[in-house]
Amino acid sequence: MKTGLMLFVSSAVFSATIALVYWLVAHDPAGTMLLGFMSAALTVVALYMVFAERDADLYADKKKATPAEAAGEHVGTYVTHSPAPFWIGVSLTGVVLGLVVAPAAAGLGIVALFLLGALMIVRSR
């Protein structure tokens, strides 16, 4: 995690430096803003990682850790199938096509997304 954190911190510092140098050299507001926003976005991720890193205790970061050491009581599960992604894809396609050709299609896409949300809430109960 420390390496990951350093990655984002150094990227944020680098982009802020480039933004400053670019402004001093070119006085171009468009490019400076783009670089500035990029630096800000990286800083947000880096800040999040500062807090996440404090709580992280990854066996992956221990050079001599083994799978047996990392084993615990809790057995994790991974979802292997879900209809939601396909449904979201179809619904959003309806939304964007509706924006271009027919507002009704956009409406249908939005309704489909709401239906999916409702279904997932019901299933989670």
């Binding site: 990655l7 990227s11 490019g31 066996y59 992956a60 050079k63 994790g76 292997t80 396909f86 179809v90």
Partner: protein, 544 residues
């Protein structure tokens, strides 16, 4: 993650169509991604053949001008957004969890959603061709005001915008998934500095996507507002700025070039290392150079705008030159990896060597056009077409085929035929260079890009004829790959778990891997964990 997770009992895998539509397994999503990109590649390749046939002789009438514009727009858009970049995302989907010892991606549902958004977005881009006025025809860059509603009046341009917006959002979601998975879901002992080079390159690529793709999404949104909602963001007549479009687009567009190449650097690193029988030379240098390339590439966007007179040419020229340094480090590291190694000239290795030769020419000519005095002559000429095809076509395309031949046995459990593979490589290599090498000279002789015909004077007719013959050889190479797949699928010779004697973690599991990836993980004590397993079995083999 625990051993219990890895060994957990899972129900038998389903293989019906519904199971593929609802899958959230990273391996299946990877296969879906790669299969889709290969289909898009076939379509985009046929569009390229139509263009080359039109240009075979001056004054040909196969394609009218407007249709020619639509075809080069769809060809460029598909190859960049729907083939080269997403193929790498698909491969990474398949490989990252396997290479780091994880059972799946961090967010499986998000992963599947990314794929469906990518697929539907791509189909929408192509669907523009079915509208009354045809597909988008403003080029893959769709500069304003060329893409404005007053010039590009058809719905095809709108389909292009919303389709690519979906692809852009899908890419950002995938990048989030990659970084989270690589940071959090590594197996015990797989420290960051033991990650395979391919995974590192994908982390750098994901970082680039974070930084660059929001700019693309915003640009597309603003263009849509201009076209459909009466905006004037890029319209100088109402206080907007067409140059702003170029800034926003290239802030995405140049990093995108590295999104198209960094994953393929990773593929070449893995292939060259395996078939040279040596670890990657300068592991740390390889990793740091990837991030140096990623960082510097964010500061070079306006070298595409030298001739506008609206940007600071010396700044962008200098930063562009600097990118040659980390790229050179990678090149020398690949050469040093091979130096003194026991090289096996298998099909994937041949494609990796083809990559090195082609990409070198693409890189060197990139340094040339990064110099404003030269760029003023080369701008919008076939010299630029040749340059970027040598980087993206000769580079990424060759590495893509190296990846297909290298990891095919892991995905399907049987390997592709070596004989047909090698014939296909030579056809592709000769065909590629016959097609694109003459284009440097066409550019020097003044042939502009994106023209549907040219004057029958000087060397242009001969150069174009050679390029067209080369393109047909490339097509033959592509057909031979399909034949190889069909023939090899009929034979289905079992490849075994580790047919190439690779040392990264994906070769430690069965071919194809089980749904949960690993029944048992080996101890991970280096960047080449399987080497450690060999030493444990035969301690005398360990170098002293």
């Amino acid at each position: 993650m625990s051993a219990a997770v890895l060994d957990r009992v899972t129900p038998p895998e389903r293989h019906d169509i519904l199971s593929w539509i609802t899958t959230t397994d990273h391996k299946r999503i990877g296969v879906l991604y790669m299969g889709t990109t290969l289909l898009f590649m076939a379509v985009a390749g046929l569009l390229a053949m139509a263009m080359r046939t039109q240009l075979a002789v001056p004054g040909a009438t196969l394609l009218p001008p407007h249709e020619y514009n639509e075809i080069f727009t769809l060809h460029g858009t598909a190859m960049i957004f729907l083939v080269i970049a997403p193929f790498a995302l698909g491969l990474a989907n398949y490989l990252i969890p396997l290479q780091i010892g994880a059972p799946d991606m961090a967010f499986p549902r998000l992963n599947a959603t990314s794929y469906w958004l990518f697929l539907f977005g791509g189909l929408i881009v192509f669907a523009g061709a079915a509208t009354n006025e045809g597909a988008a025809s403003a080029g893959w860059t769709s500069y304003a005001p060329l893409s404005d509603i007053t010039i590009s009046t058809g719905l095809g341009q709108d389909f292009w915008i919303v389709g690519l917006a979906m692809v852009s959002v899908a890419s950002i979601m995938t990048a989030i998934n990659f970084v989270t998975t690589a940071f959090i879901h590594r197996a015990p002992g797989m420290t960051m500095w033991r990650l395979p080079i391919f995974t590192w390159e994908m982390i750098a690529t994901a970082l680039l996507i974070f930084m660059a793709f929001p700019s693309l999404t915003a640009t597309l949104l603003l263009l849509f507002v201009d076209r459909r909602l009466g905006g004037h963001v890029f319209d100088p007549a109402f206080g907007g700025s067409a140059i702003l479009y170029q800034h926003l687009f290239w802030f995405f567009g140049h990093p995108e070039v590295y999104v198209l190449i960094l994953p393929y650097f990773g593929i070449v690193s893995e292939v060259v290392s395996t078939f040279s029988g040596r670890p990657v030379f300068g592991y740390t240098g390889m990793v740091l150079s990837a991030f140096a390339i990623a960082g510097l590439s964010m500061g070079v966007w306006a070298h595409h705008m030298f001739t506008t007179g609206a940007v600071n040419n010396p700044f962008f020229s200098l930063v562009s030159f600097l990118i040659a340094v980390p790229t050179g480090i990678k090149f020398f590291n690949w050469i040093c990896t091979m130096w003194g190694g026991a090289i096996r000239y298998t099909t994937p290795m041949l494609y990796a060597l083809g990559f090195l030769m082609n990409f070198l020419l693409g890189g060197v000519t990139g340094v040339m056009v990064a110099s404003p005095p030269l760029d003023f002559h080369a701008q919008d000429s076939y010299f630029v077409v040749a340059h970027f095809h040598y980087t993206i076509g000769g580079g990424s395309f060759f590495a893509l085929f190296a990846a297909l031949y290298y990891w095919w046995p892991k995905v399907y459990g049987w390997r592709l035929g070596e004989g047909l593979g090698k014939i296909g490589f030579w056809l592709t290599f000769v065909g590629f260079n016959m097609t694109f090498l003459p284009m440097f000279f066409m550019g020097v002789f003044g042939m502009p890009r994106r023209v549907f015909t040219y004057p029958a004077t000087g060397a242009l007719p001969a150069l174009n004829a050679v390029a067209t013959v080369g393109a047909y050889l490339l097509l033959l190479g592509g057909i031979l790959f399909v034949v190889n797949v069909v023939v090899s699928a009929r034979r289905r010779e079992p490849a075994g778990d580790n047919p190439w004697q690779g040392y990264t973690l994906e070769w430690a599991t069965s071919s194809p891997p089980p749904e949960h990836n690993f029944h048992e993980l080996p101890p991970i004590r280096s960047a080449r964990p399987l080497r450690g397993v060999e030493y444990a079995k035969a301690p005398e083999a360990r170098p002293t």
